[in-house]
């Protein structure tokens, strides 16, 4: 049989598998992308609006701005609904009902992103075209679909952090004659604030990283959006659309886009984990 020490050593090596995977991914994306950034110039790459791979122009500013606006729009849709849903389920519904509805909402996270994208194309885009005009496949369509897609992330983490507020806090407030809603908005939300903020940051990460649904609903024109009805192309869509035929500098530019995306996501995750840890310490 295995010796005790041997098992422990083996497990301690395997325990680094996730973080080694992360390091390996970072390493190879950077090896492919960084030389391009140095050659082409980080400033030109990030701040120029000229994306014409066939003539060697690689400015991703339109994609950065598209990713930003789509993400912001998704937050405007997803965060209010998500937080409202979390408060309602955690504070105003019986436990048994919550235990049915929470998994149902988490099931939203399991619906494949291509299906969301498809619903966006066949249901949402025609409605936007009818009501607001424009091409339909637009920044607005992307924001709404992504807003729906991040709901499970926001709701499920927010519920957990609201339920983690000690019952004695609530009981004190209720004993003083406050209504449940007064207790919720004056006390529970404030106590659960860090978890709710973390849920929103993680939602932002999901919104920026989403690819397939965004490709299908945003129209993919390379331009800086002037209105919510414009067709836009995000960073993720740019990689996915052109990777299949890109070669040479063009391919390196797409990996450099991946580098930008990777850095943004790790940054957001680091903030989220700092926010959550601070909560644990102050408790």
């Amino acid at each position: 049989m295995f010796s005790e020490k041997g098992v422990e050593r083996l497990l301690s090596v395997i325990a680094f598998s996730a973080i080694s995977a992360l390091a390996l991914i970072a390493l190879f994306i950077f090896i492919e992308g960084i030389p391009f950034l140095l050659k082409y110039g980080i400033k030109d790459f990030l701040l120029s609006s000229d994306w014409r791979p066939e003539s060697g122009k690689f400015g991703i500013y339109p994609m950065i701005s598209a990713s930003f606006w789509v993400m912001l729009g998704a937050m405007l849709v997803g965060a209010p609904f998500g937080i409202a849903g979390a408060i309602f389920l955690a504070e105003f519904t019986p436990k048994t009902v919550m235990h049915i509805i929470k998994p149902a909402i988490e099931l939203l996270a399991a619906v494949p992103s291509v299906i969301y994208g498809f619903i966006g194309v066949v249901v949402l885009a025609p409605i936007i075209r009818e009501v607001f005009g424009g091409p339909g496949l637009s920044l607005l369509a992307g924001a709404i679909i992504l807003g729906i897609m991040i709901l499970p992330t926001v709701i499920s983490i927010s519920i957990d952090s609201i339920l983690a507020v000690p019952a004695s806090f609530r009981e004190g407030s209720l004993a003083l004659g406050a209504t449940i809603w007064q207790t919720v908005h004056m006390l529970t939300i404030k106590a659960a604030k860090s978890g709710i903020i973390a849920s929103i940051i993680l939602g932002m990460g999901r919104a920026i990283g989403e690819t397939m649904a965004v490709i299908m609903v945003t129209g993919n024109a390379v331009m800086i959006p002037n209105s919510a009805l414009d067709s836009v192309r995000t960073l993720t869509a740019n990689i996915a659309l052109e990777m299949s035929y890109a070669t040479g500098m063009h391919r390196e530019a797409l990996f450099a886009t991946g580098v930008v995306l990777f850095i943004v996501i790790i940054f957001l995750n680091a903030i989220a984990s700092v926010v959550i840890r601070k909560k644990v310490i102050t408790k």
Partner: protein, 278 residues
Amino acid sequence: MRVSPKYTQIGAVTILGAATAFTVAILIFIIIFVLEKGLPVLSFNFLFTNPSDMGRSGGILPILIGTVLLPVLAIIVAAPLGICTSVYLVEFTLESRVTRLIRFGTDCLAGVPSIIFGLFGFIFFVTILGMGWSIMSGGLSLALMILPTIIRTSEEAIRAVPKAYREVSFSLGASRWQTVRKVVLPNALPGVVTGVVLGIGRSIEETAVVIFTAGSSLLIPTSLFDSTRTMAVHFYILAREGLSMENAYGTAASLIIAVLIVNLTAYWMMHRFIAKRN
């Protein structure tokens, strides 16, 4: 004028309740929409015949095979790594800088967008290791993607095993590893399996990673180094290139049904696990 707290309470509950109802309604709408259009197309014939004319007609047999093989390979790789990691984190070490680093790495890996896994898989497995667009490249890339899910779920399951179980085992003279093998893991098993099932679910849903690493061949794979496509990829290609709406809906319906079965199984197991604990 001050509004009575009783009325603000009623107002707040109405608004919050409406938001929640809206969220649930979206879920129901998506599932019903896809099933309504897709179920009429679904048949034994559709599932078990070969596609013809790029998927414009015929069935989805090779796609079904790809959809089973990729997640299975991903799980074979990721499950042992993930379960060992969580056993180490919970049973073999105290909270320290190292465990915090491992947890942070796991959380970051969970947040990495699928397109990045796709890029990495393409450059590392497909190109550098020379596996080409294949089930192998796809399965390994998916394995990295689902590793955090498995680590987190099994860590929770192992942590939920009462301390007393371990203490009894230690007091009988069992070593740490014997305790893990004979006491902790059997008791945490349903929770651990839930993580594995959720990992299968994520692999089935994924599109970007699979397109970049497993390609999109419509032939029945004969080895692990053949290219293949999953239902999610097939649906994407059919819908985007407008090849056949009918077959796209049929594929979407089988995809949704597969995802529902896998996820409901996971919830059912988790529920039983929690019920047994209490």
